[in-house]
Amino acid sequence: MRYLPHMDADRQSMLADIGVEHIDELFRDVPAAALLKEPITSLPNHATELEVERMLSRMAGRNTPASAVPFFIGCGAYKHHVPASVDHLIQRGEFLTSYTPYQPEIAQGTLQYLFEFQTQVARLTGMEVANASMYDGSTATTEAIFMARRITRRKKALISAGVHPHYVDVAKALAKVSGDELVIGTPELAKGKPGGDYEALLGQIDKTTSCVVVQNPNLFGYVADLTELAEACHANGALLVVVVTEVVSLGLMKSPGEMGADIVVGEGQSIGNGLNYGGPYLGLFACREKFVRQMPGRLCGETVDADGRRGYVLTLSTREQHIRREKATSNICTNSGLCALAFTIHLSLLGEAGLRQLAQFNHARAVQAAERLAKVPGVEVLNDAFFNEFTIRLSKPSRDVVRELGNRDILAGVALSRLYPTETALHDGVVLAVTEIVTESDIEALAKGLEEVLSC
């Protein structure tokens, strides 16, 4: 076995040094009935690199990569171009094969980039502090709801109809056991602002509300000014939690912080990370400094070494499970370190100017797409305002149309029936994301495809 350095002779002599004859003497505590006498026969034995490569390549070959076709799928995961240097750098063994920086003196590489990452996330979201990452946007959202409960000592969270339904489902599964009460909006394909239920939310906020959770841009791509909502929250002692699933939007749009958010969570996949069929992704978590001791997850902080030189360490760990155990703010341990590295590298390559240009391009391309699709008979573009994603209503059931376009090698967005199987009112809707990878001819191909499919 190429990964195991011992030869049988080594094993024998090491056993002798230990003072036993057979390896199973070291497994003496295992109840005899449970100790397997030989390798599990229902699984194959070891394979060469070439064999493994062939098996896995065969499976990979049965999937259609986003780069291979006109591609318009978003809804919480976005296809952006990631510079080659990002993947090169995150593969450096010193990053890839290290772990949580428990020994800061020999983990300054990891700690410094985490400190930089935290600062970038805080600035991007308009918050004062950010942590060193969560699993993904959905779990970060649930953690935010729980954190709001701890801060406000209230249990009722209002969740906008525009929040990604998976995120809502995750919160629901946990609320069941945590005792949080979730009031969840029902999305409508309202002309102009699909999923935009801010009026309704304003009416629901009261002194029992722990927080209001809104997504911006929301699942349907609709973007809105949240200032009024924030004010209503604050007037009632509640917190505004803003979810961002497309962080590239922050290059062009007002930050949640500027609009009054108290906690901003998000999915950071868009920057630095590939689609990866859904994971690993990168949970972002930022908030006002005054809430820092209620934050979940790791925090990296600046300090000095014995010679007074600047250095970084994990800090405020009295919030965390390994110190506080059942009193911890969260049970999270391993998080998304390497994805955070990819994010911070990509974002420092982009810089402010690059991010702004990228966001601008995304928006402009999406506007082009919306304008073109609006001309297709049987297509209605619903959003007034959007960033790089918008919803269309079709004259036919959207799932069939999307599937038919898939057969023509056009991946034409997410049919809302996929996400809301029981909300039949949404079933003629499709959400389309348009990023910098979409060309004008891709848009044309989509428009033509829709024309054909809708007219026949």
Binding site: R11, F27, N45, G311, I323, K327, S330, N331
Partner: protein, 524 residues
């Protein structure tokens, strides 16, 4: 000091050794590196973006006006920045990394290559299922291996790490209990448990009660039996446990737990010690997470991403979360939504889990095969016992007898030396090693938990053993400075963790001088 012309880099003072101080503060290949905020500029970018098509904005008036404050680096600057940072890290690729409980084994490069195949890395979780049949097959393959290796009939693939897997397990247990109308309040956790166990139980609304350990480092079965009762929802037990020991009473424990209608959650973080040797399903386990980033070697990545699939017994299988992959005659199907009559507790995460990690784990499993995985477990146990055998005369093993995949020592051998476990660990850094896990598990005083893993050669173990013997002797010989002032040779000296917590500086505030220390603003 470099000041008139030069950018003063890094940490201010020049470096010195043998009487010399460099002007730049660099020392040969040991290079200082300022923060991106001190190097980068907002108007510079390392990414070319084409000019945006001219269109009328449809942002709804939400254009950002204020600057964000993000520095940009050209690609040359970025590559250099992150390369320099990386060189300040220790890693498995550099040397033995005996961080107990974390299983820092070699990460095969084939896994990385496979995970980057466009057919896996460049597909969207919401693509039509016909366009991702190979991805579903991959998930199904990993699921199959995990079920066979554990002897369990079901697996939930979506949990994102070990702790998330614990959550998954407890949510299923709670759902199962509720399904039978049997709300219970308590989860029992041994003193030696990893912090995530009690944290998870509390997160799920349970009261956590500790169960004591025997002086052999095992669960006190009698004490446990006494505590069991109708209020107990579950026990969370790590096996092999965090002392690196197999729980000999495990089957009896499972029986006793089941006898009171409770469930047995097993923390499978140490599954790597027994994979292919013992199937948790044969021990009476109801749910167990598996850290793919430990047992199946998907890399730790400086703190994740991990992956924590959970295997379930028949009793819990109906309550497992969504989504899951179903193999039908013609195709693989991804089930994302509850169907009529489903008892699933719901969804743990957006989309379908850590696909990138599944590919790596598949590559690892297929490469090792049933025989290789078993050999890996045996070698892991062999290596830990070898270290134990070779160090037991100069260090103090916490418990008697052979261990599993990690060797646990306490700090008795440092008694009266003025050297603490922390000092000892820092001195290991100077010798070229990452320290072991310190002060965990809590049941042992000044614990030092050494997990060499199976991917260390005998020569590597011998060198490590030699270093630890020499250090242990040095401590006993009164060479206190070697320890208390350690590390001497790391990129930085010992860091002030207290200051960091008392006066937290959690993000960069633009200051005057690159490399200068921030004046903390928020004093506690």
């Amino acid at each position: 000091m470099l000041n008139r012309q030069g950018r003063p880099t890094g940490t201010g003072e020049g470096a010195s050794a043998e009487g010399f101080t460099t002007f730049t503060g660099h020392k040969g290949l040991d290079l200082n590196e300022p923060l991106i905020f001190e190097i980068g500029r907002g108007d510079r970018t390392g990414v070319d973006v084409p000019d945006a098509p001219k269109v009328a904005s449809r942002l709804g008036g939400l254009e950002r006006e204020a600057p964000i404050g993000l520095p940009g680096l050209s690609e040359p600057e970025a590559v250099r920045h992150y390369t320099r940072l990386s060189r300040k890290n220790y890693a498995i690729d550099m040397g033995l990394f005996p961080l107990g409980s974390c299983t820092m084994k070699h990460n095969p490069r084939l896994n990385e290559k496979m995970a980057r195949l466009a057919g896996f890395s460049d597909i969207h979780p919401l693509q039509p299922q016909d366009t991702v049949q190979g991805a579903l097959e991959l998930i199904d393959t990993v699921a199959h291996w995990l079920m066979e290796l554990t002897g369990m009939p079901a697996v939930a693939m979506s949990p994102k790490a070990g702790a998330h897997g614990e959550l998954c397990g407890l949510l299923a247990i709670r759902a199962a209990l509720e399904a039978r109308g049997d709300a219970r309040e308590v989860v029992l956790v041994p003193e030696s448990a990893h912090g995530t166990n009690p944290a998870t139980a509390a997160f799920c609304g349970y009261r956590v009660e500790e169960i004591p350990a025997t002086e052999n480092g095992r669960v006190d079965f009698e004490a446990l039996k006494k505590r069991l009762g109708p209020d107990v929802a579950a026990i969370m037990l790590t096996n092999p446990n965090t002392c690196g020991l197999f729980e000999p009473d495990i089957i009896k424990i499972a029986e006793a737990v089941h006898a009171v209608g409770a469930f047995f959650y097993c923390d499978g973080a140490n599954f790597n010690a027994i994979v292919g040797k013992v199937r948790p399903g044969d021990l009476g386990v109801d749910a167990m997470h598996i850290n793919l980033h430990k047992t199946f070697s998907t890399p730790h990545g400086g703190g994740g991403p991990g992956s924590g699939p959970v295997v379930f017994s028949e009793a819990l299988a109906p309550f497992a979360p969504l989504p899951y992959v179903k193999k039908t005659e013609e195709r693989f199907e991804l089930v994302e939504h509850l169907e009529e009559g489903d008892q699933s507790f719901g969804r743990m995460v957006a989309f379908h889990g850590q696909m990138g990690m599944f590919v790596r784990a598949a590559s690892y499993m297929l490469s090792h095969g049933a025989d290789g995985l078993r050999q890996a477990a045996e070698d892991a146990v062999l290596n830990a016992n070898y270290i134990m055998a070779k160090l037991q005369d100069v260090m103090t093993p916490a418990f008697e007898g052979p261990c599993m995949h990690e060797a646990l020592f306490d700090d008795r051998f440092l008694k009266d030396t003025g050297v603490t476990t922390l000092d000892f660990a820092k001195a290991m850094i100077d010798e070229g090693y990452h320290p072991m896990t310190m002060y965990f598990p809590l049941v042992v005083h000044g614990a030092m938990l050494i997990e060499p893993t199976e991917t260390e050669s005998r020569a590597s173990l011998d060198e490590f053993i030699g270093a630890l013997r020499s250090l242990a002797e040095a401590a006993k010989n009164g060479e206190k400075e070697r320890f208390t002032a350690a590390p001497h040779f790391a990129p930085v000296k010992r860091l002030d963790e207290t200051r960091a917590a008392r006066q937290p500086v959690l993000s960069y505030k633009n200051t005057a001088e690159p490399g200068s220390v921030t004046t903390p603003v928020a004093a506690e």
